[in-house]
């Protein structure tokens, strides 16, 4: 099958490749770029394990052709640590509050939570629950995920306040 030329920025790095137009973004990320953090858990855009950040929005990368991401700026779980190499506060809080078990949903969940906190820095518990309802978890029952996200929000807000 004829291949198309795609260019995008992934985790801050410029990426250029040839790909079949029908290639799903998730397969491009996982197989071409070896970014195996985002996972595949369903065929119907329900589970959210493949969630990445694309031009400031959470998207399910199993539902986009790679061509639709042409020119986009993409962030995956591999790209969310702080510039100094320390973990993002969400990564810390998921561990601190036992917000993960098998880890399969975790990359999508954390990437989604990061965008949620950018959209709504001080969410209520109900807003967090609604905000992550596109991401399924089979292990945790969500309670500790919600706790971790709320704790991360509190930490980020405290940091912001301290900086002002």
């Amino acid at each position: 099958m004829a291949k198309m030329h795609v260019k995008m920025t992934v985790n801050g790095k410029a990426v250029e490749a040839l790909a079949e137009p029908r290639t799903l973004l998730i397969h491009f990320l996982r197989e071409e770029l070896n970014l195996t953090g985002p996972h595949i858990g369903c065929d119907t855009s329900h589970c959210g394990a493949c969630t990445v950040d694309l031009d400031g929005k959470s998207v399910k990368s199993c539902t986009l052709f790679v061509g639709q991401a042409n020119g986009a700026e993409i962030t995956t779980i591999e790209g969310i640590a702080n510039a100094d190499g320390s973990l993002h506060v969400l990564q810390e809080m998921f561990r601190e509050h036992h917000g993960l078990q098998c880890g399969f949903c975790t990359p999508g969940m954390i990437v989604r939570a990061r965008r949620l906190l950018a959209e709504n820095p001080d969410p209520t518990e109900a807003e967090v629950r609604f905000g992550i309802s596109g991401n399924l978890c089979r292990c945790t029952g969500y309670q500790n995920i919600v706790k971790a996200i709320l704790a991360a929000a509190a930490t980020l807000n405290a940091e912001k306040e301290a900086a002002q």
């Binding site: 993960l100 098998c102 991401n135 399924l136 089979r138």
Partner: protein
């Protein structure tokens, strides 16, 4: 020196041993996207396999035409049963002593059954080629109703064994009959039922559902033809058992097979079985000489890999007029699908369904189970429960509530009246188990107090009155359950799978500088074994958990064990860890005695060291002892500090718990809001409270799913109508309620550290608790029992049937 020595308490805290809410060591890689799941494995030249599956539930396969598929560039091979037959791999043994077609042999028995295996250079080409394989079918009459399966004129499903009068579990009386399993005293039970003051009867269905781990099943098989070694990385909950079975059926010597379970994205029982995808990938790798990957998609996972439950339980329960239970009778019809691939210990074809007397002192009982074939997917795995324990627990907990209605009693009062008392343990149940320990009254009463049960009932009565006055359209339901699990399979004397004894193991290597590598026969799928097993060892050998690496899942390095399912890791492998630790300590004591120039008996263990009795300032720490073990010639002792324990438990463990849930049900929409869920679990000694709480939250949410809508449903033609996450209910964070957790601690008397296992308790107790609450909401209107799942439509139908819609 004494002034600088930390106190015993400080030293114990540093170990992060038993009882510590230690943060998980697994999380660093998972939170950074650095887990290593099977689909992350990439090897040079690797090919991809994909299945051609049957669109029909029952059909003859007339022909399979591979030509067009093989002509597609990038397609390497298309395998059918005819290709597997010369290797005698067209059929494979199931875990239940039956056999299953690897690829369709002349016919198909369920929708989604594997017909041909396409191998191609990438997964897209493989998917294209699947569409190009032309299969001609001739449809046959379909059997989806397990009761009709045994009709005299029912279509014969398994023609391969139609005339076989003896199955793996005794005589067969019909071509679609698999086994009948009977336990207890039928005559005595019937006699009590005949003369009883009160008998409550019901048909309790536990519908077909599916473990649906977020990661589907898959593998990468790699046959190295140069050295003759087969390596298979895959989603295996029991890697050692897979290796033995692979050796037996392939003829490859066991030492030349390496099975590796990498990180597993949830299992919940779904990854216990052996699936055609594994066999086909292995064959394809042998044929092509390169690694072959197969990873199923979600539709394949839901429609073709192991389901759970699908039990129809007819029950009778007898009692005196004042509520003392006198007998229990149960006849179960078990729908096993097209092949009997049920994952149960060999001697228990209906698992531990005979734990169905539950938490109650029932003097006499009878259980019979008929397993039947239907045109549905094979399976019958323990979905987040020990073998058939949720079915058993759901049955008795519904029967108790139904009996309470008949006696016009509160369901809690009836439970308290019939609980096995703490002084009756070890308790011998009427259906043959020896319950090791328990204190049910204490647990139940603690929960009742915590939720103000009487207050809840008053509120419910007020709500009912308001409903009748037309002031609200919402009813309140209160669900109570008290479950007794039976986990930790199990004693080799009565528990094996395909002849493999269900012990487990731990091998410990203390390195000279005092850090540790420990390997176990189990495999974590999210339970956090690397964290908790290190805690068990830390307490046993006095080395900080942070200095202990736990490895599992690689049959080349880990000691033999039967894997992780049925809450057996802590009861069996956890015990092996403690026992191996004690062997280490025994040798360490001899080394310390030599170092301190005292007799062994003059030493006592003190958290992380051996100290001279009466002279605590004279001691050797485990770190010092480890170095000496390797580097000093201790008379009479071999160098080194290693131990291995293969632990065969003397009995199962019996975790229990008391749960209460409170629901609001909108009678006009059928919507359910879980207002409160209070879960008290007693899993014996608690290793890591944080992980226990996480396990409880997760298990309860799987219960929420099962009760409120999750179902593998078939239409009358055998089409799966819930084959994607569009239709198959998994709760999101919005549907999942907030849980309150609590515990009591009744240690197991026979487990080395008193632990019992917890991963599955919340699902076992949660399902009956929530279903009881839904049914309870309608009790005041004469409602007795409705079958699960209690989705909006079915709840609306209850209300409609009771005339609540005016």
């Amino acid at each position: 020196m004494n002034d600088q020595t930390p106190t015993a308490t400080e030293r114990a805290e540093k170990l992060q041993g038993l009882g510590c809410a230690r943060k998980r060591v697994e999380d660093a890689r998972f939170t950074q996207g650095k887990g290593n799941y099977v689909d992350d494995i990439k090897m040079p030249g690797m090919l991809f396999g994909d299945f051609v599956r049957s669109p029909y539930a029952h059909a003859r396969v007339i022909s399979v035409d591979k030509e067009a598929a093989l002509a597609l560039p990038g397609v390497v091979a298309v395998l059918t049963a005819a290709d597997l037959e010369p290797l005698n791999l067209h059929w494979m043994p199931t875990l239940a002593g039956d056999k299953q077609m690897v690829l369709a042999v002349g016919k198909v028995l369920f929708q989604g059954q594997e017909v041909a295996f396409v191998v191609a250079e990438d997964r897209y080409i493989a998917a294209d080629a699947v569409e190009l394989v032309e299969v001609e079918y001739e449809e046959l009459p379909v059997v989806v109703d397990p009761f009709k399966a045994l009709d005299p004129d029912a279509p014969v499903l398994r023609e391969d064994i139609a005339d076989q009068k003896e199955g793996a579990h005794g005589p067969r009386r019909h071509p679609n009959h698999i086994f009948t399993w009977e336990q207890g005293d039928e005559a005595a039970t019937n006699a009590v039922l005949a003369g009883a003051d009160v008998v409550a009867e019901a048909m309790i269905q536990y519908h077909r559902c599916h473990p649906c781990p977020l990661e589907t099943c898959g593998c990468v098989a790699s046959m190295d033809k140069i050295n003759g070694k087969l390596t298979v990385w895959g989603t295996f909950q029991a890697p050692h058992a897979v290796r033995t079975i692979a050796s037996l059926i392939s003829g490859i010597a066991e030492h030349n097979i390496r099975i590796v379970s990498p990180d597993i994205g949830g299992g919940f029982g779904n990854k216990v079985g052996v699936y055609p995808g594994y066999i086909c990938s292995i064959v394809a790798s042998i044929v092509t000489g390169v690694p072959v990957k197969w990873v199923e998609d979600r539709i394949e996972n839901l429609t073709a890999t192991a389901f759970a439950r699908d039990y129809w339980m007819q029950g009778k329960i007898a009692a005196t007029r004042d509520g003392k239970i006198t007998a229990l009778w149960c006849h179960t019809t078990a729908d096993h699908g097209g092949f009997d691939a049920c994952a149960d210990p060999t001697k228990f074809p209906a698992g531990f369904m005979n734990i169905c007397t539950g938490s109650y002192d029932i003097p006499v009982a009878w259980l019979s189970v008929d397993g039947v074939y239907t045109n549905k997917a094979p399976g019958g795995v323990a979905y987040r429960c020990s073998f058939r324990v949720t079915e058993a627990s759901y049955f008795i907990e519904r029967m108790i509530d139904i009996l309470a209605i008949k006696l016009d009693m509160d369901p809690v009062e009836l439970r308290l009246k019939n609980f096995i008392r703490a002084d009756q343990f070890p308790y011998h149940s009427a259906l043959g188990w020896e319950y090791d320990s328990g204190d049910y009254h204490t647990a139940m009463e603690k929960v009742l107090k915590a939720v103000d049960y009487d207050g809840l009932r008053r509120e419910q009565a007020e709500r009912l009155a308001a409903f009748k006055r037309g002031e609200t359209r919402k009813l309140m339901g209160i669900g109570v359950s008290h479950f007794t699990e039976i986990v930790g399979a199990g004693p080799v004397k009565n528990c094996d799978i395909l002849g493999l004894g269900m012990f487990d193991s731990c091998a410990i290597r203390i390195h000279p500088t005092g850090s540790v590598t420990a390997r176990l026969g189990t495999i974590s799928q999210g339970q956090g074994h690397a964290t908790t097993f290190a805690q068990i060892l830390a307490s046993e050998i006095g080395i900080p958990a942070d200095s202990i690496t736990v490895e599992e899942g690689d049959t080349d390095t880990a000691p033999y064990g039967l894997g992780t399912y049925g809450s057996r890791s802590t009861p069996v492998a956890g015990a092996a860890a403690a026992m191996a630790g004690r062997k280490i300590r025994a040798k360490a004591q001899m080394i310390a005695a030599w170092m301190l120039e005292v007799h062994d008996d003059d030493l006592e263990w003190d958290v992380d060291r051996f100290a001279v009795k009466g002279a605590p300032e004279r001691f050797k720490t485990m770190t010092e002892i480890a170095f000496a073990a390797y580097n000093q010639a201790v008379p009479g002792l071999e160098p080194g500090l290693e131990a291995v324990s293969y632990y065969d438990p003397p009995n199962m463990t019996y975790p229990f718990g008391a749960y209460v849930s409170v629901l609001d049900i909108d009678v006009d929409t059928g919507e359910v809001e879980i207002r409160r869920f209070y879960a008290l679990d007693d899993c014996g000694t608690r290793i890591n409270p944080m992980i226990i709480e996480g396990q409880v939250h997760g298990g309860l949410t799987e219960a929420v799913a099962i009760v409120l809508g999750q179902e593998i449903a078939y239409d009358e033609d055998g089409n799966v109508t819930t084959g994607t996450l569009m239709d198959f209910f998994l709760p999101t964070a919005v549907e999942a309620p907030h849980y309150e957790t609590d515990h009591t601690t009744t240690p197991s008397p026979h487990h080395p550290i008193g632990a019992k296992g917890v991963g599955e308790s919340p699902n076992v107790g949660g399902v009956s608790c929530l279903s009881n609450a839904v049914n309870d909401a309608f009790r005041a209107f004469g409602h007795v029992h409705a079958q699960m799942p209690h989705d909006h439509w079915r709840i609306w139908k209850i209300a409609e049937g009771l005339g609540l819609h005016g």
